[in-house]
């Protein structure tokens, strides 16, 4: 891919997604190298931990700014879990909170120049989605046993329609982890590629002398606007990811609906 940078376009928009080994490591024949992706996962871990732990270190009755923001995240996700998964879903709250904070922080940190966006890799988002999928399915089976499969048989549908509806429900259930993970992955990937492409335009323009300098203002403005949009997308996709997790949890807890 790097060869393309010689063929006219100054920036390789995919280069930002390349995983580099920082400390090569192999355990039992499996590659477990500490990569830039690992580094940024650890950064996300550290950031979320620092945010919540330092933010709550004073435990003030009247919260300061940092403590307020921690509490806002807490209550936001607590409400999300309650509204979408029901009151009995509170024991899954720590999981949804961790999931949201991880995805949200990874998305936002990924917007910083030179940072690696952990969630722009399908394997990461798919791992998170399959974890949710398996967790939800196992929870549903433990709580409701065979009744959990009632999820695939909507009530109030005529029997002859069930022959058609049930396979559709099953397929849609099984495809959940795919749509769940691809949505996040694709949004992150596309946003970052777009930013890089416009950055490439700026550089191309700058190579064209004085007129190009004036022309470069346009894609540069686009970068500024897109960065704002990407910030929104970063937050929104983290929210969507968490809300879908809550809804799937709700299905597992109340399969009757």
């Amino acid at each position: 891919m790097a060869a393309e940078s010689g063929s006219g376009f100054p920036v390789d928009p995919l280069h930002q997604f390349v995983v580099n080994k920082i400390f090569p490591l192999e355990i039992g024949g499996i590659d477990a190298s500490f990569t830039n992706s690992s580094l940024w996962m650890i950064v996300v871990l550290g950031f979320v931990t620092a945010f919540t732990v330092i933010g709550m270190s004073r435990r003030s009755m009247v919260p300061g700014r940092l403590q307020s923001s921690v509490e806002i995240f807490y209550e936001f996700i607590a409400n999300m879990v309650r509204d979408n998964a029901g009151h009995d879903a509170q024991r899954f709250f720590p999981f949804v909170f961790t999931l949201f904070m991880f995805v949200f922080t990874a998305n936002v940190i990924g917007l910083f120049p030179y940072a690696f966006t952990v969630t722009s890799h399908i394997i990461v988002t798919f791992a998170l989605a399959i974890m949710v999928f398996l967790g939800v399915t196992v929870t549903g089976l433990i709580l409701h046993g065979p009744k959990f499969f009632g999820l695939f048989v909507p009530s109030g549908v005529p029997v002859y329609m069930l022959i058609l509806v049930t396979p559709i429900e099953i397929i849609s259930y099984i495809s959940r982890p795919i749509s769940h993970s691809v949505r996040l992955f694709a949004n992150m990937l596309a946003g970052h590629i777009t930013l890089k492409v416009f950055a490439g335009f700026v550089i191309s323009f700058l190579g064209a002398g004085a007129v190009g300098w004036a022309g470069a203002v346009l894609p540069f403005g686009m970068i500024v606007a897109l960065t704002a949009l990407e910030l929104l997308v970063a937050a929104l996709q983290a929210y969507v990811f968490a809300v879908l997790t809550c809804m799937y949890l709700g299905d597992a807890l109340h399969p009757g609906h």
Partner: protein, 197 residues
């Protein structure tokens, strides 16, 4: 402004470019034949990403569920309780205030009644005292008047008695002068009395 920023970006990119080339070169060397061309779909990095995701997400989950979230929950609960307590207390204070206002109103009413009563009593007392004094004065005046009247009467009687005597004298004298003999005193007095009446 814009050109300056653009300058900086060019400088940055030019600065960054060689590194990119070397890193990309490294990756090409690492990836070798396995290079798929699209990094997110390159299965070479999957195992390490999965392992490190499991590590970082697992640690984050433990830290959140064991440390951070219980702490936040405690603080929020404490605050919730505190606010509920404060509201209860405020409600209590409010009802206390209400009671105090009612007690005050009642006391004020009682005091007003009391004052009214005292005023009435004082007024009655003063009225009685005034009446008594007036009656006293009136009685005294009446006594004086009666006294004066009796004195006037006695004086008048005396005077009238004198007049009768004088009249009887005069009549006696006149009778003796005219008739040349002394008139009967008793007859004269009877005649004078008859005239005076």
């Amino acid at each position: 402004m814009a050109t300056e920023t653009a300058h900086q970006i060019v400088a940055q990119v030019e600065h960054a470019d060689p590194t990119e080339h070397t890193m990309a070169g490294q990756e090409a060397a690492h990836g070798g034949a396995h290079e798929t061309g699209f990094p997110p779909f390159n299965p070479d990095s999957f195992s390490s990403q999965l392992i490190w995701l499991a590590i970082s997400f697992g640690i984050l989950y433990l830290l959140m569920s064991r440390v951070a979230l219980p702490k936040i929950a405690t603080v929020l609960e404490e605050r919730h309780d505190r606010i509920a307590d404060d509201l209860d207390q405020a409600e209590q204070f409010r009802s206390q205030t209400q009671e105090a206002i009612e007690a005050y109103e009642k006391a004020l009413g009682e005091a007003r009644d009391e004052a009214h009563k005292i005023a009435q009593a004082t007024r009655d007392e003063l009225q009685a005292e005034t009446d008594r004094q007036r009656q006293e004065v009136e009685g005294e005046l009446a006594a004086r008047i009666a006294d004066a009247e009796s004195r006037i009467k006695s004086t008048k009687d005396t005077a009238m008695g004198n007049v009768r005597d004088i009249a009887a004298d005069v009549a006696g004298t006149v009778v003796s002068q005219v008739l040349g003999e002394n008139a009967d005193t008793a007859a004269l007095e009877r005649a004078v009395d008859a005239e005076i009446k």
